[in-house]
């Protein structure tokens, strides 16, 4: 359905080495009615697969930043008041397919971007986001959704100032998930119908996700953090890098 882009390079995200994308600016065509240039806030994304320890790290990072005097706002995937009930409802029924799944996530993200992230950046807050668009790109990519289309879709997202990718191997991840809350349907990619065995499905699905994240590391300037280490170790590294960025 799409007509010709106005020029070969003006649509979607720049792929590969995206040296042209400014942190704090829009990745792609952006939101025309919300110019965001020169906002004083900083956007820091913590990415990583399920069970990697993101929320613990964010909580610790938040406390540390607040003690240092920064205003901190937290946001997380599917937490928008507009979309959360709808997403939960859709997940509990069997009517979702990969396309509507992608679009529901994008709607949730757009809501939080407009209502939480952009106002907080405007007001000079440090915005910590528990997952960012890379989660959506990874999940949809694994499900076979067209990658260039996904990048164009998320062209309204803001490029974070820092993206930390908490990297883990699937063996360590399995151990952690089983020790805590166990494997769930969606985190195991059971919708992909790899088979009835949740363990095998989890392993295959998370492996694919990890590959997907790794393939985005260069494209989106991930700062890769080894998430197999202790909570304190990881936190030290995050604080060192965030500190160096905020107070050079």
């Amino acid at each position: 359905m799409s007509s010709q882009p106005e020029s070969p390079h003006d649509h979607g995200l720049v792929e590969g080495a995206n040296g042209g994308i400014q942190p704090g600016g829009y990745y792609g065509r952006g939101i025309p009615y919300l110019p965001i240039n020169g906002y004083p806030g900083k956007l820091i994304a913590i990415e990583g697969t399920d069970g990697v320890g993101r929320s613990t790290q964010i909580q610790l990072l938040r406390e540390w930043l607040e003690v240092k005097g920064y205003g901190v706002v937290e946001t997380g995937w599917t937490r928008s008041p507009l979309m959360q009930p709808t997403i939960e409802l859709a997940k509990s029924s069997n009517t979702l397919n990969k396309l509507t799944f992608v679009l529901l996530y994008a709607t949730d993200f757009a809501d939080r971007l407009e209502k939480e992230i952009i106002p907080a950046l405007k007001a000079g807050f440090v915005v910590l986001t528990d997952r960012y668009i890379f989660t959506a790109l990874a999940r949809a990519g694994v499900r076979g959704v067209d990658r260039p289309w996904l990048r164009t879709l998320y062209g309204f997202a803001i490029a974070p100032h820092l993206v930390f990718y908490l990297k883990i191997d699937v063996e360590t991840l399995i151990g952690r998930v089983l020790e805590s809350r166990g494997m769930d349907f969606w985190e195991s990619g059971m919708d992909l119908k790899h088979g009835d065995d949740i363990y095998d499905s989890f392993r295959a699905y998370q492996n694919k996700l990890l590959r997907e994240y790794s393939s985005m590391a260069d494209e989106f300037h991930f700062r890769v953090v080894d998430a197999r280490r202790s909570v304190v170790h990881i936190q030290d590294e995050l604080r060192r890098q965030v500190g160096a960025f905020l107070e050079p």
């Binding site: 359905m1 007509s3 065509r29 979309m83 396309l99 679009l103 959704v145 164009t152 062209g155």
Partner: protein, 164 residues
């Protein structure tokens, strides 16, 4: 943005459940509004023109798309004559252009009509003059549809949702 994306989600759901299956079965699908509505309405709300077109690139291109064109005054008169209460979003009240619903409707739908004029050529919409009587309009529509149905190649391949 959320307005645009929610509609796209709803559209995707209808496309996959209500439009593609009957097309595969060789049936004729009549769609009351299509992606063109998003191209005009969302852009009027300030969404990027190119972005919304690419967003809907998963849509099936219709074999025939008809645009019923009517001047804004006729549109307002018709709605008011039926004493319809103008809907909040239909009148673009969310944009805050006017606190008077009729005035807001006029401003908002006026912009929407400008966007339609833009896409008529871009997407080769068949324009039907909607100021005429229902009988006159229906005659034009039947003529256009008949030409298409009779010339339609019923063996063509139906694109799947992954043609994005």
């Amino acid at each position: 943005m959320t307005f645009s994306l929610l509609h796209a989600t709803d559209f995707a759901d209808r496309l996959l459940y209500k439009i593609i299956p009957p097309l595969k079965a060789g049936m004729i699908v009549l769609a009351d509004r299509y992606a063109y509505t998003a191209f005009t309405r969302d852009v009027t709300r300030g969404v990027d023109r190119q972005w919304v077109r690419e967003l809907y690139s998963f849509a099936v291109k219709p074999d025939l798309a008809l645009y019923f064109r009517v001047p804004i005054d006729v549109s307002v008169d018709r709605l008011l004559a039926r004493r319809v209460k103008l809907k909040f979003y239909e009148a673009g009240m969310d944009l805050g252009w006017s606190s008077n619903p009729v005035e807001s409707f006029r401003l908002f739908q006026g912009k929407v009509l400008e966007e339609y004029d833009r896409i008529v050529g871009e997407y080769e919409l068949g324009v039907v003059d909607a100021t005429g009587s229902i009988t006159q309009q229906q005659r034009v529509v039947r003529d256009l549809v008949a030409r298409h149905v009779e010339s339609a190649d019923t063996t063509r391949e139906i694109p799947s949702e992954q043609s994005a």
